[in-house]
Symmetry: C2
Subunit: 417 residues, 2 copies
């Protein structure tokens, strides 16, 4: 055990490209940047040291495979290593690290799988750079519409196409990482919970049933810019004063919907852009970004409808035009009951307490689940803090996760399967 | 008259560096940029064509002088040609253009002044680039604290010191444009009203009594960033949801104070910055910029106090810390009664209707008034729209303004004065 803990500590640092985890600014390895690539290289080196064969596919996903027979079925496990800006060192990395650790455990135990095992380190999971998430797993599962995202730009004006090519991948082939149903037998992802339900329910691990995919709205209010000093209060078309009450409304209605029924819903006004955003000009245009999530799709729709109705009221009361643009509206994904059962079974066999829950965050597994029987395992993270430099998961919980994956792989790839 | 109209039309285009005034994107000649410099060069060429002598001072102000005797007193008239981003072609330019046109009128009339006349084209009046306004006129009137503003940066990270030096001026000397009281006898600025009081009062021109200088607040709310999908509504420290109601509060309280008493007050939440401002992260920090103006300084203070009290309430109700930083708190400036009287007199003599009013916007004249007897003349602008591509003042009103300045200069610099 001490050996596993030390291994996890060392390789957690390696995947994060650091000598210690305590960084005030957190970690910034945005999609298709050299920082993501460096972390991919660390993944390859660790995998090779475990005796795995590493390859890179057309979307930049890293594969590390334990091949027992070329044409044997393949069980896959994995996650990602890219991060948001100033994010934590566990979101993504925890899944890649524990998958690698599980291989180490199996090899230490001299386990002989009957099937191939692949660890996937997915490219570009976070939407922080381009507003597009899980690009690598979308490509593998055939869900990537590359023409749709080609013109998307990051904050510096670099298109995703340019970024992918700078990363060393021909843009034309980025969709060709797609695998057929026969190529994989199953998929498992481990991730930090990014919430506190495991802890709140005194459990050791979370086993996920459904992934709440978001509705994302862009609400644009157009009034008229004018001089702040010379425009009387009663002659203004201030887009910000008009739309700002929507921020509190979204929070209030989301809280209300949570009290009214059992399935959780969360909603956030997470972005804002003012035009021109200078001290002596009345805001002429405001764009808000709203993120709504629940595994109950009709609940998300209900909130989106309430937002639309509230915007209509603002339009009637004030001289601003409001336009709502639906950026994303993905139905929630339900994971495979057999994989869920196997995870529950091995967790309990190890004397650990599993907790069945839903995921409020999207993960690579939601794409993989479209094509292969898939599961998602959560380990706790301190106070549920994530996408933040203070994000933290303990080595003890990473070790528990590694052992559950190892036990799961034993059942999944051993005799009798 | 047709001659004057044509002259104004031609030279309005020249100062704006264009061939037609109708630009969808408006005009962007930010402080100490090559665009401001090009407009300064246009000013010099026009002034020279009128027989004036042009010089540039240490702060980059352009001077064009009609010298009758080296040691004669000097009456000054002027404004600026820099603009906000995507601003209009009249804010500033109107004052420089009409001052030049007044010289043309005086010369056409073969008027012989007994005093020198200087037209000043002030550098860097707008705060749009650095958040610092009226740099040129502050330097002339000895109000510039250059060490205080040296570290200020624009949106690209260029310091004001670097910008001034790129403009061709040694930073060390930028404060040395200061003149003594004896160097000028009086100062007059013409500006577009940027409001609709002249029109609302069926007058031709506005003659300003007081200039409302702003209180500017920076309100920073600090909560905690976290994942939008995994953080339940009751476990959030969303800085944006907490502070957003302040936007409506500021508007509502400003409107209330206007109804409660006679002297107008305006207040605007004109800027916002979210951290990290990405779709899947709850806003951890929000910074709002608030601009409050009235010629009644205690009224501005009253609103600032109400804002502080409201922020205290938010802090008590929600787990966010709020810090209020006073960026600017300048007392209002009252202009010279004799200059006001002279302007009223010449306006009425011309058969025009003057309207005595206050200015909600700051102008170069507010600095000049600290040292010299000063006046401010407003011409109407369409619908009060300013700092916007649709800003518009008619040639007819520019002609009226030019003639009032010419008549004023006749009285100011003629026999008997």
């Amino acid at each position: 055990m001490a050996d596993l803990h030390a291994w996890l500590e060392t390789h957690l640092l390696k995947l994060n490209l650091v000598n210690e985890m305590d960084y005030e600014q957190g970690f910034s390895r945005l999609s298709y940047t050299k920082e993501e690539k460096q972390s991919h290289q660390a993944f390859q080196m660790i995998a090779q040291s475990l005796g795995l064969t590493t390859t890179t596919d057309q979307a930049g996903n890293q594969w590390a495979t334990w091949t027992v027979k070329e044409d044997a079925p393949t069980a896959a496990v994995g996650s990602h290593v890219d991060t948001v800006k100033n994010g934590g060192g566990y979101d993504g990395v925890a899944g890649v690290l524990t998958a690698l650790a599980a291989i180490k455990i199996l090899k230490d135990h001299e386990f002989q799988p009957k099937k191939n095992i692949s660890i996937i380190c997915f490219a570009s999971e976070e939407s922080a750079r381009f507003g597009v998430s899980t690009i690598g797993s979308k490509s593998i599962s055939g869900l990537l519409d590359k023409d749709d995202i080609a013109p998307v730009k990051d904050a510096e004006g670099i298109t995703i196409k340019e970024a992918v090519e700078d990363f060393g991948l021909p843009w034309e082939k980025v969709g060709e990482a797609e695998l057929s149903e026969q190529d994989l037998e199953s998929f498992l992802e481990l991730h930090i919970e990014q919430g506190t339900q495991i802890e709140d329910n005194q459990a050791d691990l979370g086993i996920v049933r459904g992934v709440a995919c978001p509705i994302r709205l862009q609400v644009k209010a157009v009034g008229m810019a004018n001089h702040t000093g010379t425009t009387p209060m009663n002659r203004r078309f201030d887009a910000f004063a008009a739309i700002a009450p929507l921020v509190a409304f979204v929070e209030e209605q989301a809280s209300l919907l949570n009290r009214e029924q059992d399935i959780p819903l969360v909603a956030t006004v997470s972005t804002v852009q003012l035009e021109p955003n200078v001290m002596n000009v009345i805001p002429g245009e405001v764009t808000l970004g709203i993120d709504i999530r629940s595994v109950n799709d009709s609940l998300k729709r209900e909130l989106a409808d309430r937002i639309a109705a509230y915007c209509k009221k603002i339009e009637e009361k004030r001289s601003v035009q409001i336009k709502i643009n639906t950026l994303v509206d993905n139905p929630s994904v339900f994971l495979n009951p057999q994989v869920h059962e196997r995870l529950t079974h091995v967790t309990e066999k190890m004397g650990l307490k599993p907790f069945t829950m839903d995921s409020g965050a999207g993960h690579d597994v939601m794409n993989m689940a479209h094509k292969w029987p898939s599961g998602l395992l959560f380990i706790p993270c301190e106070q549920g803090i994530s996408h933040h430099p203070k994000e933290f998961a303990s080595i003890k919980d990473l070790a528990k996760g590694s052992q559950v994956i190892a036990e799961y792989l034993k059942e999944e790839t051993g005799e009798g399967h």
